[in-house]
Symmetry: C2
Subunit: 222 residues, 2 copies
């Protein structure tokens, strides 16, 4: 069986989970408490981060970007990066936008302050960091509005890794209850289309003990 | 003509410059002062970061990872990511290691403190940040030693994007004069092989006004 080492609210792990679902590849999920720095886990990935994929034959693949490229090469049906070099560059640009810029400015501080501190007993959330992330989120939602006003999917006509990465990050932020959906109706329409895909269902049924999602989190009609 | 918007000591820009050389693709370099946030540049790349590639026909590609994948797809001779999905995953894992982990722990703070503060008149370098980066550099050089003791090139038998990314970062740190080469002879041997490649020559002739490199920087025998 294929195994994915992950954490529930890591957007990069969610991205790989959605991609695996799109390609109908069964996977066993293993929660990895990376803060414990287990020797056996560091042997799989000396960088110590998540996700890490172990294929059924035992080959290990680390780094979320490398995992997505690997899955799209090894299991090309359906291709989720794009049909020609320029579409592929655009899908990758936007996936990287969410996995670096959005991650740094929004999802990482929000998940860290609102969920991980509670789960790991690390004290009170830093309200200044949460406010800064909320302001940054608005800027990103403006950019998403600009994109979905002009394109069917984020990178163009085709659903791609860009939508998957963006959805993975927004779903983690939405789990924390922080997306002002009613102010961004076009982005909400696009997100409803993502939520309706079977690949999103496992993500929407996530439920972390001690940190329940808001009621609308799994609703398609929210 | 193809144009690359870049900064001299950005390792991600150096990575793309080396890759372009390996593929014998001529390029015009344009220095972009990203701290000015020029409107015309933000129109090319709303993320505001470097490098950005503009192809001869005018198509724009942003994000260093997307640029490298694009170049290897559009100009596949020689392929520099690997021959099979697992070699490709290993080259990408290591390239990401340098572009995220090494960048965060070593090259970004060193270049920021030792060069950019001087160039931008931003005050004295933070000696604590420089000491921390130097300690982190030792850990990374240990990992590089482990890799080159076991493999011909970083990702395996073939020269790849992993060597290019690692060389790009180490060359930026070496420009600042901070690599303790004599303590890491195996890594030095591997780096000598990189430096000897024609693709590395333009990097070695970089010379930033007001921030000259140490004398050994361009020497093949150092």
């Amino acid at each position: 069986m294929r195994t994915l080492y992950h954490l529930w609210l890591s957007p990069q792990c969610r991205k790989v989970r959605i991609l695996l679902q799109e390609k109908r590849l069964p996977v066993h999920l293993e929660v990895e408490p990376i803060w414990e720095r287990r020797t056996a886990f560091l042997a799989l990935n000396p960088a110590g981060d998540l996700p890490v994929l172990v294929e059924p034959e035992g080959q290990t693949i680390a780094d979320h970007g490398a995992i997505c490229e690997y899955l799209d090469e090894a299991y090309p049906e359906p291709t989720l990066i794009g049909a020609d070099p320029f579409s592929r560059a655009e899908a990758r640009r936007l996936a990287a936008w969410f996995d670096t810029k959005f991650d740094h400015e929004v999802s990482r501080p929000l998940v860290a302050e609102k969920v991980m501190k509670r789960v790991l007993n690390q004290g009170e959330p830093d309200s200044r960091a949460i406010r800064a992330a909320a302001i940054n989120l608005g800027t990103h939602l403006d950019y998403l509005t600009w994109l979905v006003d002009r394109r069917k999917w984020l990178a163009g006509d085709a659903y791609s890794l860009a939508d998957i990465a963006a959805g993975a990050h927004l779903s983690a932020v939405d789990y924390c209850g922080d997306v002002p959906w009613s102010d961004y109706p076009q982005v909400k329409d696009w997100y409803v289309r993502l939520k309706s895909r079977p690949s999103f269902r496992p993500i929407l049924s996530d439920h972390i003990p001690g940190a329940a999602p808001p009621r609308h989190y799994a609703d398609l009609d929210f």
